[in-house]
């Protein structure tokens, strides 16, 4: 029997458009909605920008059964604002006496981390950080989905991406099922979602390098792309 009532998606990207985290998390949440679970999506960087918002945000977390974080990889771990938001949640829950609470009765926490590198494995440290957070906050950790080639998504609906997103979509559907059943992510979720969207891998880097050049060209800075503006700047001794 399904016992959950409310799920919240925390988007960790500061981008209000073209966010891969929003696309990936949004797809997962839409699958959870199919189980008649109420859902809400919030963008973390804006959600904790004032004290009043922070209080409201923490109340929302306490009213929710299922918490999902979808975040980009920034400098090998979670973005700064996500670390801040997770710290606030853990701090807010530190005095709750959860030690004797059965893990199945705890709020569940699961995560999707995406990076712009082709290798999904580059998110592994960030996933470990998320598991530590879940433990500190007294949540039941259901697992982490690690996605490489995140730039291939860039805010698009996964359903519009054609064959390249087939495995990802299947993996997220299975993840939704695991989340609703309060199960740790099955191996097939991890296997499907970590598959490369573009193969061979060199094709992704070729397209990526071309895309940077093209954007530089569009902005009139193509010849400055390798500039070293801070060379020889002196310290204030």
């Amino acid at each position: 029997m399904i016992k959950f009532k409310k799920a919240i998606l925390l988007i960790g990207s500061p981008k209000s458009k073209n966010s891969s985290s929003a696309s990936l998390g949004g797809h997962l949440l839409s699958k959870i909605e199919e189980y008649d679970i109420a859902t809400e999506t919030v963008q973390l960087p804006f959600e904790i920008s004032t004290e009043a918002k922070r209080i409201q945000f923490l109340e929302k977390i306490e009213e929710t059964d299922i918490i999902i974080l979808a975040a980009p990889l920034y400098v090998d771990t979670l973005p700064a604002k996500v670390i801040k938001a997770l710290s606030l949640i853990a701090e807010n829950r530190k005095d709750l006496n959860l030690k004797n609470l059965d893990s199945d009765k705890r709020k569940s926490f699961s995560v999707i981390v995406n990076c712009g590198f082709p290798e999904a494995d580059q998110n592994k440290t960030a996933l470990k950080v998320c598991e530590q957070f879940a433990q500190a906050a007294g949540f039941k950790y259901l697992g982490g989905i690690s996605i490489g080639m995140g730039e291939a998504v860039s805010g698009r609906s996964l359903l519009e991406m054609g064959r390249m997103a087939n495995d990802l979509i299947k993996g997220l559907e299975r993840a939704a099922d695991d989340i609703v059943r309060n199960h740790r992510f099955s191996d097939s979720v991890i296997e499907k979602t970590s598959k490369a969207m573009i193969s061979p891998r060199w094709l992704y880097t070729l397209i990526g390098n071309f895309s940077w050049r093209f954007q530089g060209f569009q902005n009139g800075v193509y010849r400055k792309m390798n500039d070293k503006p801070y060379l020889k700047v002196k310290h204030n001794d």
Binding site: P72, V75, A80, I83, N209, N236
Partner: protein
């Protein structure tokens, strides 16, 4: 040789001043000129994630605040010290906010490094990293994650050397471990510069 301490202590968090002073003392004894940035006192906004620092103003963040100066100081140092409370195995918000703003220092273009794809260098030389994590009580799992994170950073920031230590901040704080870590990385950098 120049060393830059990025002090990531949190507002209303543990004071890392004593540790910072110990690091400075040891660095000076190893011929470094040392500068410290107490990040919580500086105006550094969060990264916007638009990559404009790569495709619009190459090498410079579009946000005009102390993040730019921090990047300029960092790339012109031989050693950068990440001093931070350990938060779930990661860095504090204050330190991470500054590090997220350092990506203008690397190139957008991809390159294979030891079997993985990373971003190419923008500059010919990058500072080595000494990361000092502080916990009220040591958590072994989080200490290992912290060290793994520093190693990953050293790959993406093209650092020649890195060291990571996690210390317990208590009344009997022993600076020996810290001084050894500073000495070890200082010697490696010194030999490289000879």
């Amino acid at each position: 040789m120049k060393a830059l301490i990025l002090n990531g202590e949190e507002i209303d968090g543990l004071s890392l001043n004593y540790i910072s002073e110990s690091i400075k003392e040891e660095l000076k004894a190893n011929d470094f000129k040392v500068e410290e940035i107490l990040l919580k006192e500086k105006e550094i906004a969060d990264c916007l994630g638009h990559f404009k620092c790569w495709v619009k103003t190459p090498g410079i963040c579009i946000i005009d605040d102390y993040g730019r100066e921090t990047a300029a100081k960092l790339i012109n140092s031989e050693l950068v010290i990440f001093l931070t409370p350990v938060i779930f195995g990661s860095y504090s918000y204050q330190l991470k906010k500054a590090l997220d703003r350092m990506i203008p220092l690397i190139s957008p273009y991809f390159k294979r490094i030891e079997g993985e794809i990373h971003h190419r260098k923008r500059y010919s030389k990058y500072p080595s990293i000494l990361a000092v994590g502080v916990m009220e009580r040591i958590n072994q799992v989080q200490s290992e994650i912290f060290k793994e994170l520093v190693e990953r950073n050293s790959i993406n920031f093209h650092s020649l050397f890195f060291e990571a230590e996690v210390l317990e901040l208590d009344d009997d704080f022993d600076t020996k471990k810290l001084k050894n870590a500073v000495k070890e990385i200082s010697e490696k950098i010194g030999e490289q510069n000879d």
